[in-house]
């Protein structure tokens, strides 16, 4: 059930109405409704994988309770190991089994040994990477005594499976979301309005931006051998907007829907195109995953506390794992490695020149350089193999730039322009330009016209409905 589908347009009001019909002090009943709705939402994709969420949730619920009673460090480590084994075992099997088997066969083939292991036709359960990390954050926090174990099973299960963010995040921390299931929720007009605006914003990003970029990007990446350099460059830039529109659009919708239920989800994207350096980009892009890796991998590895070499090693490690998290393919590993090198190089440069932002004096230069580097790395993310990515890149750099690019639909250019203008007003909220642009919307009729324009463009200006890109992860 996609957020931008008619079935969800029926599902959401129904669950919303039932939820608020329950008196607000009946917290468990509301949680139970959310749990049932979330399982129903997931079953709409594929009911066969409901068992996996249930197994993950049950394991971490039981491990959490056991950790609260275990005092001996060895025993605590055993319980933690059980949780890691079950969660990462499921993730590893469903997501990485064939990748590792194929890699092993290739490695042995290189040594002259032929292996013929059983390869399985495994379907990837949607959202498994997201909810696995979410539930793991709970166990890790309980293990590190940063969080008290949750005794209310319904609240815990609802936290793991909360439908707005179940299949594509944001990857919520138990410390942030779980307490919200324990307290009474109250609906306010402002909160509802904010929720709907976030949904509209996400809808616009997904349907108007991402879905309209998709045909151009698909055409360029499937015919890159014959495309001109400007077309290849445009294809890369549009893919940047596509993936941003797609993923941040989903996150906006998730946050908006959660807001309608009186819940607050963390911000997942903070205008990443305005980043002035690679490290800042990762503080603005997929924040819930970046901060997850920072808290549960980077810092436990030593973070930046043990000298430059350890810092660089730790940075590279989290980017490699992040690449692998995205998919069981060597191209994602390479993509992660490139970002890791990029961040390490920037960190080294920053340490030597001692500036907090980019290497240039003017922020616009820093933004432009960061943007171009990020765009180039998208080529690896989007290409089907390392060879094709390298060929794409070499054609981009070696063929003539003095030819016309394939035209981009005018509607898409307007839509991207509108998005960038909107984000500029958000980024520089106090600037004169932002104040001028926002001024007309103080009047209700202007606001309604803007809402109608967003509604109309989302309903009529969308391309063919595309699956959310991050569902495959």
């Amino acid at each position: 059930m996609l957020f931008n589908s008619l079935e969800f347009a029926l599902f959401l009001p129904l669950v919303f109405a039932l939820y608020w019909l329950i008196p607000r002090h009946f917290i468990s009943s509301q949680n139970l409704l959310i749990l049932c709705a979330s399982y129903g939402f997931y079953a709409w994709w594929d009911w066969r994988f409901l068992g996996l969420i249930f197994l993950s949730s049950t394991t971490d619920y039981v491990v959490g309770l056991a950790l609260s009673q275990a005092e001996k460090p060895a025993l605590r480590r055993c319980w933690l190991a059980l949780s890691l084994a079950v969660n990462l075992g499921l993730l590893g099997f469903f997501k990485y089994y064939n990748f590792f088997v194929d890699s092993l066969v290739t490695a042995f083939h290189g040594m002259g040994i032929e292996l013929s292991p059983a390869s399985l036709s495994i379907v990837l359960p949607v959202g498994i990477s997201f909810y696995t990390f979410q539930t793991l954050s709970y166990t890790l926090d309980v293990y590190h005594r940063k969080l008290n174990p949750e005794r209310n099973a319904i609240a815990f299960f609802a936290y793991v499976s909360f439908f707005p963010q179940l299949v594509a995040g944001p990857i919520e921390r138990a410390r942030h979301l779980l307490p919200q299931f324990k307290r009474a929720r109250q609906f306010t007009y402002d909160q509802g309005r904010e929720g709907l605006l976030l949904i509209a914003q996400g809808f616009f990003k997904k349907v108007v931006i991402a879905d309209n970029c998709a045909p151009y990007v698909d055409a360029v990446f499937s015919n890159y051998q014959t495309a001109s350099a400007p077309t290849l460059a445009l294809g890369t830039v549009l893919f940047g907007f596509q993936i941003y529109g797609d993923f941040s659009g989903y996150s906006d919708m998730a946050r908006g829907i959660a807001r309608l239920f009186g819940m607050d989800l963390m911000l997942n994207f903070r205008r990443p195109f305005f980043a002035q350096n690679p490290a800042e980009f990762w503080n603005r892009w997929h924040i819930s995953l970046s901060s997850w890796f920072r808290d549960y991998v980077y810092i436990p590895l030593g973070g930046s506390r043990h000298g430059k070499f350890t810092t660089y090693r730790n940075l590279l490690t989290i980017f490699l794992i992040s690449g692998l998290w995205h998919g069981a393919h060597e191209i994602y590993l390479l993509w992660g490695l490139i970002h890791g090198i990029n961040v390490v190089a920037y960190t080294a440069l920053r340490n030597s020149i001692g500036t907090a932002y980019g290497p240039f004096r003017y922020p616009a230069f820093n933004i432009a350089v960061t943007y171009v580097i990020t765009c180039l790395t998208w080529i690896f993310f989007r290409s089907s193999s390392i060879d094709s990515a390298i060929e794409y890149l070499s054609r981009l750099l070696s063929t003539s730039w003095f030819v016309q690019a394939e035209p981009v639909p005018l509607l898409l250019i307007y839509a991207i322009g509108a998005l960038l203008l909107y984000e500029t007003t958000q980024e520089r909220a106090d600037s004169a330009l932002s104040r001028t642009l926002r001024a007309p919307f103080r009047f209700a009729p202007m606001r309604w016209c803007a809402y109608l324009a967003i509604f109309g463009s989302a309903m009529l200006g969308g391309g063919d409905t595309q699956q959310f890109i991050y569902f495959q992860f």
């Binding site: 008619l6 509607l411 109608l452 009529l460």
Partner: protein, 303 residues
């Protein structure tokens, strides 16, 4: 909560009304689908031959060159499942129907309209040809099945509707017998380029069993009603012929031969027919007016 529900409801009602109004407004412009439906029903009492199929027969079979009264209900990218639907839908309305004519091209036995860039056409069948009754329960909730504006450039549609309202300018591409007169001479792209490109495009169509089942079902229904079925492999220019997968083409031929023998129907292979020369083609795999006249006469004779 009350304020939120009232305001949201008001907004949605207002926006939906605007949207529905715009949809109804653009739908008043006639199109090939609605026009063919109306024309066939207007000619139902004397139509003896029904031409179905995709662009090969839409442009390639001109009913005026048939010796019997014919109607062309071929539509661009129409796959065999839609041929079957149209045949079964209009059969009760055509008391004089004696034969149906169907082209089976290189890709017809694997092609499904729902795949690829032509999938938007499905909504036309739903709106104008009663296909909504055939939708699965899972498709009932798909917004795209109900909106013309969703599939097209809204600004262009509004412009088209304004032109139609002001000057009666119609976007129809077919005449009263259902034949499309668009392909007059030859495409500027040339036969060599267009043929090779079409072959590459058609090679991506996968093999499927459903189109064969649809074809067989049509033949059975036709036989029950004593209606002749004529299948033909449409003529193609050498650039197209040279570029298609020979093995797959051979499989199509073998299937049609077998079908013709088992079902006692006629099947004509015109794929490399030398009677069709360069001047008969619009592009690598479509005929122009001259070629359409030639093909129509041949099919009429075969019937």
């Amino acid at each position: 909560m009350k304020k939120f529900i009232v305001r949201t409801g008001l907004f949605l009602a207002f926006a939906s009304t605007l949207l529905a109004g715009a949809e109804l407004w653009v739908r008043q412009v006639p199109n090939d689908y609605s026009y063919k439906h109306r024309q066939l029903l207007a000619q139902k009492t004397d139509t003896e031959i029904l031409v179905l199929g995709s662009s090969h027969s839409l442009f390639g079979l001109n009913p005026e060159h048939f010796s019997q009264k014919a109607f062309n209900f071929a539509l661009t990218s129409q796959s065999l499942s839609y041929d079957r639907y149209l045949f079964e839908r209009y059969l009760p309305h055509l008391p004089q129907l004696k034969a149906i004519v169907l082209p089976i091209g290189f890709f017809s036995l694997g092609y499904s309209l729902e795949d690829g860039i032509e999938a938007w056409r499905k909504q036309r069948y739903v709106h104008y040809l009663g296909y909504w009754k055939e939708l699965d329960a899972s498709e009932w909730l798909e917004f795209k099945n109900y909106s013309t504006l969703y599939h097209n450039d809204a600004a262009q549609m509004f412009e088209q509707t304004k032109r139609y309202r002001k000057r009666g300018a119609s976007p129809l591409t077919v005449n009263t017998s259902g034949w499309s007169e668009l392909f007059i001479e030859q495409t500027p792209a040339g036969l060599d380029t267009s043929g090779a490109e079409a072959a590459v495009r058609h090679a991506t169509v996968p093999q499927r069993s459903q189109p064969r089942l649809d074809l067989l079902a049509m033949i059975k229904t036709a036989k029950k009603q004593n209606i002749k079925v004529l299948l033909f492999i449409p003529p193609a220019w050498e650039s197209y012929r040279n570029a298609v997968d020979k093995e797959r083409m051979q499989q199509t031929r073998q299937f049609l031969d077998r079908l013709a023998r088992q079902q006692h129907i006629k099947c004509i292979d015109l794929f490399a027919d030398e009677r069709f020369v360069e001047a008969d083609f619009y592009d690598g795999d479509h005929l122009n007016h001259r070629g359409a006249a030639k093909l129509s006469a041949l099919i009429s004779e075969a019937l």
